[in-house]
Amino acid sequence: MIALLLPAALAAPLDLVLGGADAGTYAARAQVGFPWTGASAQVGVGKGWALRADYETASFARHQPALGVGYRWLDRRWRITGEAMAGWVYQPGTLAQSGPSGELRIRAGRTGRVVPIVNLGMQGILPLTRTVVISDGGEERSLSADTGLTLTGGLGVAVPIGARLAAEAGLDLDWVDVPTISIPGAYVAISVAGGER
């Protein structure tokens, strides 16, 4: 699961490391890892708020696009931010599931030359099942929804490279589709920031 967007303002790239954004800034991030690979983009809209878009895939077999907002709550030596996302989960194959999803995330980190990051979140899914019963009486269609829960979490470290770039590495500790056992993952990511505050 994408652990973090690393936007960076022109003069102070770590100002936005932990989500949220100032008006006039934007950032993009790409992550590769096992099992999660993905990309994110974020635009600051002012007063700590940001609009963001995520796409992430687990082993290219589970796909999760999402749109949402981020907000920076605390901005001192430690920074705490939160995000609310709405999207879709699409997972074909033997354990196929597809349906809308919603996710809440919170993350914290300490600013500096090396930025440790911790994030926690919770994602709910409503996998939809379409059933078609064909009988002598005709065709009957129905739509039902199940529920699914994923608990997200991760630990990472980000390092700014100049004014517009940041590199990041970390562990994904998601518990996907509780109670299915999940194996921890790992990732590396790079972020590009731009705009002016």
Binding site: S59, R62, G93, T180, S182, G185
Partner: protein, 331 residues
């Protein structure tokens, strides 16, 4: 990542440490076969037992553990000397792993694997003779040492005399019979007691004293997760010298999450004086690392309920080799 490291490391010293002694191990219950031969409902059931993200591509995960190479790799990780893979003909539940598939796998690892043959019973009224001939031919293949049946998976009543010809063939061939007993968690199985409770086998056992019957899973009820039918196993093993009890799967973390039933079963078998009839198996490979995990849990429970070194050795390898007429495994 742990599995990756396990796979990259040198195989451990063979055997398992028990009370300071290293004992050889034979895992008499392993599955193989083709993913394509498994019904879709059972594929889903299997996939749900794989951890994320391996459950996203269960076919690849299954193939990596169902091949002869994959099974031997899992045996190596668990330091188990030999494994026994089962042919299965249960198209309405768990699928098909043909005799040809199993004998080919045994041939790929002749020093490590033995096989149990089986037979299709879907057209028994018209195809009995051909099926028995197929079974007999499979038993002539190198390393094919016994017969596997699963009445609940195959929809075959335990007390149906129509199938007694299988037991007669087993006796004539000197091939022990492994029978799934107790209910099964898989979709498409037949859960009625006549298919799961070995009390219904008594007539067959009594009529075929030269056939050896191994009651798989110690009659564990995998649906309700209880040991009520253990009485049937114990009763039959006490009264018939040709009855053995195998202890796979019931002690796994998914079947016995509270870790309460496995100690009850192993303690009961020991207190009933049946340790010379108990045979170890895991019901793997299931998922990478399962063989090691099940062996560790079994050894831990044996120690907990007081099995001696000799009793542990008997259960883990000697009872199997003696029953199947094989040389005792040494380390």
């Amino acid at each position: 990542m742990l599995l990756f490291l396990l796979a990259c490391s040198e195989p451990p010293e063979p055997g398992v440490l028990y009370d300071g002694q290293r004992l050889p191990v034979v895992d008499m219950h392993l599955h193989s076969g083709d993913w394509e031969g498994v019904p879709s409902g059972t594929q889903s059931f299997i996939a749900r037992n794989f951890p994320f993200p391996f459950n996203l591509d269960p076919e690849t995960t299954a193939k990596s553990t169902l091949s002869a190479e994959g099974i031997v790799e899992q045996l190596d990780i668990a330091a188990i000397s030999h494994g026994v893979v089962f042919a299965v003909y249960a198209p309405r539940s768990v699928g098909v792993a043909s005799n040809e598939t199993i004998s080919a796998q045994v041939a790929e690892a002749p020093g490590r694997l033995w096989g149990l043959a089986s037979l299709p019973i879907e057209s028994w009224e018209t195809g009995e003779e051909a099926a028995l001939a197929q079974l007999e031919a499979a038993l002539q293949e190198p390393g094919m040492v016994g017969i596997k049946l699963a009445h609940t998976h195959m929809h075959q009543r335990m007390d149906d005399p129509d199938y007694y010809s299988i037991y007669a063939l087993a006796a004539a061939q000197g091939a022990p019979l492994y029978l799934h007993t107790g209910s099964s968690p898989f979709p498409g199985t037949q859960p009625d007691p006549a298919y799961t409770d070995p009390r219904y086998l008594e007539e067959a056992i009594a009529l075929h004293p030269d056939a050896d019957f191994i009651l798989g899973h110690a009659c564990y009820d995998f649906i309700n997760e209880d040991t009520l039918d253990l009485d049937s196993c114990v009763d039959l093993a006490r009264r018939y010298p040709n009855v053995y009890i195998e202890i796979s799967a019931l002690g796994s973390s998914s079947s016995d999450a509270r870790a309460e039933d496995y100690p009850v079963v192993l303690d009961r078998l020991r207190s009933e004086g049946l340790t010379e009839r108990v045979i170890y198996g895991s019901d793997g490979p299931q998922r990478p690392g399962f063989l090691l995990a099940y062996l560790e849990r079994t050894v831990s429970v044996m120690e907990e309920v007081g099995y001696t070194d000799a009793e542990a050795r008997a259960v883990l390898s000697d009872n199997f080799t003696a029953l199947f007429g094989l040389d005792a495994v040494t380390l």
